[in-house]
Symmetry: C2
Subunit: 388 residues, 2 copies
């Protein structure tokens, strides 16, 4: 397998934005091409992760549209969709293009513009990723499923409401320092506890927003890194893992542990020849507060039911032992679904390059991990990266 | 680059079908898994090519749904979309997974169910792949663009209406012998010439139908082919190329030659270390009759304006020098958009394995080629395969 490197990144602000999907993808991509000094280079391929541009913005086949708009014709152009993990699945597809030796330079874009449709329409579009037969037809929503996970987790492990609230509080504390975050203000445990209940026990502040935004990363072969003299900014991809679980939550082995994450993480660790204790900083898919705890356990940072202990000890803070979601996570950075997986890689790249926003830089991290959920745990993609 | 093999294939009938998208994908996939003797094997990944299941059948994130329904959990699951070339782009993504050494066994599915929405809705869904700013807003449709290509081709090269009609006549002659084809009856030049005009000069019989259907192929590494003792049914992937052109047709260099095809073919030939004269049989994307001629020229089978000479000589017939679309092409086999690229590989595999339907088998072909169009020439994927 040929080694694969991330050599530059770019990202728009996340939030409710005026720019179109194409404009957002352009902004993030030109930033990434500029950051990686590849504006003048020949790209072999662009891979676009986007959950549903056809319905969110009425545009189809956007990968070729973007190849044109970015001046990359005749590069191959592919869109990848795996629900909200579309961005990291696009990264995975691009990774294998270079790892195979079939390509030397590939642009990965993750982008979604969710605010052009009203909230009811957005919810209907997103609900298509769940099981209609087993879930949607009975009125289940992603938030309702997350509430079931939270209730079961509380029952099994004694997690309290106040403890769970520490997750969004940390997310907002970090987001407040991230100039690209959707939400840039701090909140308190009381803010979370007293907010409107969305699906008991989850309140508004346990749930990530729907956002607009895009992120791009440039992947390159070792040969190209050498030719372009970019060794100092080449973050190596050490591991990539992708796993699925049964489509309907009711068919899975556990409510409080996601088989797809475990499968993906196991594969990524095995490829990287690393263990959870080797991870210095990570971005986890906290679409709902409870998922940050579940994800921490499934990727091996804590035993079942014990992730909250790390949170309470401050271990997941920027200056802690294993910082989690230093830039605000989905909760505060925002969640333009197809954009999130690439934004996670963007942020881990910045951490490993010591370029995180002021107050968010982890002390000299060497190994970073990303974990991105598609559907409600239908699939997961895990990436492991090392500093130059 | 690790060698990649197609070790088995499966396909449903194409047509207006009762089965759901998921049922069609299941049928094709179980056939392919049975054909490749992998029903009991561990798949690393499934890659699904489908243009728009969200809008055609109201289902999202179908790759994970299919991983579940096919009993392949926890395999990674990815959907790929590049308009009507989604199937061959899914194949390309799966190819790089194995070529990189990251996977040993990958299932590729191409599927579309287009008949659950009415024709007007289907046209609107398909039109999203064109340039809104430059084409759709002025009323252009894929057929209208194809008509422009035909008019220009007639003007530049003197192609006549009777000559052009030979293309669909051949498609239907072959389709009549293909038990899986959407249309299984022969037509005449007169049938084409006197049919309702869709976009002058193109009549109904110059245009492929919208179809339901699915096709699947199983890709495996050399190591797995060896372990499973499948050398006799391992068709080697010699070349894969993907290219784009400017999104709007008006921005392109030529109306009668597609830059994306030339880029994709050049890359595939270069990888395969082969030339157009090495091709024994090919499947080309004849969504409109005129495109078969344009495609033949762009992949190097004839000089500009001269493809019709080969057709008139009978060279593109099943028993000719370079048989084209032996199973009916998009015109007669049908065109379930995301399914087509994989169906082309299915049919080339059958040719190279000497398993084509009765009356359609080419005499001992060694090298086969597929060419699949996304959008109206926005992108192309070309594959080159060799017999076991």
């Amino acid at each position: 397998m040929e080694p694969v490197n991330v050599i530059g990144v770019g990202m728009t602000s996340f939030g409710i934005l005026d720019d179109s999907l194409v404009q957002l993808a352009e902004e993030a991509s030109f930033k990434a091409m500029s950051d990686s000094l590849t504006l003048e280079q020949h790209f072999d391929h662009i891979v676009v992760g986007s959950q549903n541009p056809d319905e969110f913005v009425n545009k189809g086949h956007i990968s070729t549209l973007l190849a044109d708009r970015l001046g990359l014709v005749p590069a191959g152009a592919t869109r990848v969709e795996t629900g909200p993990s579309s961005g990291s699945s696009a990264f995975e597809a691009a990774f294998t293009m270079i790892a195979s030796g079939h390509s030397d330079l590939v642009l990965v874009i993750g982008a979604e513009k969710m605010s052009e449709v009203d909230r009811g329409t957005a919810s209907k579009i997103l609900a298509k990723m769940m099981s209609y037969e087993n879930e949607t037809r009975y009125g289940a929503t992603p938030t309702a499923l997350a509430a079931m996970v939270a209730r079961r987790y509380m029952h099994d492990y004694g997690l309290t409401r106040d403890e769970l609230s520490l997750i969004p509080v940390k997310a907002h504390r970090n987001g407040a320092k991230n100039p690209l975050a959707h939400f840039q203000k701090e909140i308190t445990v009381d803010t979370v506890n007293t907010a409107r209940v969305v699906a008991d026990p989850l309140t508004l502040f346990d749930c990530c927003p729907t956002s607009d935004g895009a992120a791009s990363v440039v992947l390159a072969s070792d040969a190209l890194v050498h030719d372009l003299r970019l060794t100092d900014q080449a973050v190596r991809v050490l591991g990539v893992g992708h796993g699925t679980d049964y489509h309907a939550v009711q068919h899975r082995l556990s409510l409080t542990s996601f088989g797809a994450t475990k499968a993906a993480a196991q594969r990524a660790y095995s490829m990287a020849k690393l263990e959870p204790t080797d991870i210095d900083v990570c971005e986890l898919h906290d679409a709902f507060s409870i998922l940050e705890l579940v994800n921490m356990e499934d990727i091996g940072l804590a035993k079942l039911g014990q992730a909250i202990d790390l949170v309470k000890q401050g271990a997941t803070e920027v200056d802690g032992q294993i910082p989690v979601n230093t830039t605000g996570g989905l909760k505060a950075r925002g969640h333009p679904t197809g954009g999130t997986g690439v934004a996670q890689i963007h942020d881990i790249y910045c951490q490993l390059m010591q370029k995180a926003p002021k107050g968010l830089q982890v002390s000299s991290p060497v190994i970073g991990l990303t974990q991105n959920i598609g559907g409600f745990g239908n699939n997961m993609v895990v990436g492991i990266f090392s500093a130059p």
